[in-house]
Amino acid sequence: MSNQGLYLYPVWLRIWHGVNALGIILLIFTGISMQYGNIDYPLLPFKVSVMIHNISGIVVSIGYVVFAIANHFSNNAKQYVPNYKGFGQRIMKQTTYYVFGYFKGEPKPFPITKDNKFNPLQRLSYITVMYIFVPLIVFTGVGLLYPELIFSKIFNMGGVQFIAVLHAIAGFFISLFLIIHLYVASIGKHPLKNYSSIITGYHSTEDH
């Protein structure tokens, strides 16, 4: 089996990823439907959106706790440790690669290894999403589900209002992340290669 490539994504990670991806896609769709709903053109009936959004929200929140714990106690944790030395340079290098080098067929500046599976841009975006925006959206989401937990006033603004705006902003950045994430995952020998990795767990070595 091992000649198939690097085994990068353990089972728990793949299961979490699948559940999380499905949940987040439902959340984004129903969230947009509620926020931009219009009586004449509802994307989905409001009630249905609320129900799906609540259920997926709870699933993704539990998933997040599982992820945080599993990630903390497994080998995977080291992938999420930021390395500040030469940070700007490495980010530039990877960006230059995506914009120019990749088209010229240059080798990848940060080849994937078992110890270092993310390139600098991936690490930056995964850390920001998994340790800033997802927790933010989970906490604000719980607050909106149980409004009695929220302070009634923050900065002269309704507490619910304040939390809701944070929730929407976090949702926005996660949606943005998802689009870029999906696109960047398609960059490889074949556009679908990486997608199969996150399902099988194996990353083919001559790729990405």
Binding site: M34, Q35, Y36, G37, N38, I39, P42, P45, F46, K47, V50, Y98, V99, F103, P147, N156, M157, G158, V160, Q161, A164, V165, A168, I169, F172, S175, L176, I179, I180, Y183, I187
Partner: protein, 305 residues
């Protein structure tokens, strides 16, 4: 149940102290116990006041009609106790008796309201039995909604209390009918976050039609015609703009985009609040991202050939 307990509406600066004449009545009607001199036995008697005849004097002094003495509306003969039995037959003045056709109250449109009440489910079912006072208790009613200083939540509490004083009170309900009283909490269990809703929207939001000519529609519709669609409120063209938030919406500037001050400060209605600037910013960022991705994709395709 907390929800349905009477919440004391914030004390208001206006209002009038009890007049001397009123204090005579309040000595008995303002207390749980009253005493009187029994002339036959020659003794002082202390008895319980019938709770339905109890007047809350604190609320009375804050009410819109607090400048009246009791005997302006009730016969002065009530000052004597035991009250003469024929006083029971005295007609009591109705809102329309005092306000109907009066120019100085034109902005409240009493006569139009009267017509709407005539067409509401209550009048249709119970005719003369159902009076304005069933909702507007003259001894406590305050004009909350029109008051600029009122908070939305205070308006909601007072107005819902009008309905719940009966729909959540079997004794009052049964003055009108022996029919089974529907349990409000059970008949509205389709509404999620019910408690939150009942503290933030009024019953009349869902149970009356939208009207442009009146501040408050009084035409309670049959239950089949009540608002059932969440998006009637949870959308940009929310009905709340022409109902509960009418008072503030009329005052606030119209150029505030999606936001208006009411919604911003007092309630968050998913779908009805949107921030214009955040919207533009987010569209711009999404646009740039998609543009970047498209350019990259096109270059990839060209490169492949």
């Amino acid at each position: 149940m907390l929800l349905f307990s009477t919440v004391n509406i914030m004390a208001q600066d206006e209002g009038n102290p009890l007049s001397e004449n009123s204090q005579v009545c309040a000595r008995c009607h303002g207390n749980k116990y009253y005493t009187f001199h029994n002339e036959v036995t020659g003794t002082e008697v202390r008895k319980r006041m019938n709770p339905y005849l109890l007047i809350d004097t604190v609320k009375y002094t804050q009410a819109t009609h607090s400048f009246f003495s009791c005997d302006d509306c009730h016969s002065p003969d009530y000052a004597v106790y035991p009250h003469a039995s024929n006083l029971k037959l005295d007609p009591k003045p109705s809102c329309i008796d005092c306000h109907g056709g009066d120019e100085s109250f034109a902005k409240y449109q009493f006569d139009d309201i009267d017509v709407e009440v005539q067409n509401s489910v209550h009048k249709i079912a119970h005719g003369e039995q159902f009076k304005c006072e069933m909702c507007h208790d003259l001894h406590s009613y305050r004009l909350v909604a029109r008051n600029e200083n009122s908070k939305i939540k205070d308006i909601v509490v007072q107005d819902n209390q009008m309905c719940l004083s009966c729909h959540n009170n079997l004794t009052k309900y049964q003055i009108l009918t022996d029919n089974q009283k529907p349990e409000i909490l059970a008949t509205h269990d389709w509404l999620p976050n019910q408690e939150l809703h009942f503290l933030n929207v009024r019953c009349i939001e869902c149970h009356t039609p939208i009207t442009d000519t009146l501040m408050v529609s009084h035409k309670i519709l049959p239950k089949e015609q009540a608002v059932h669609l969440c998006s009637d409120c949870h959308s940009t063209n929310s009905i709340l703009r022409s109902k509960l938030y009418k008072y503030t919406v009329m005052e606030s500037r119209t150029d505030q985009g999606y936001y208006n001050s009411v919604i911003l400060n007092e309630a968050y209605v998913i779908g009805a609040n949107r921030n214009k600037y955040l919207n533009i910013l987010s569209l711009a960022i999404f646009g740039l991202t998609l543009l970047g991705i498209s350019i990259h994709t096109i270059t990839r395709i060209i490169n492949k050939k």
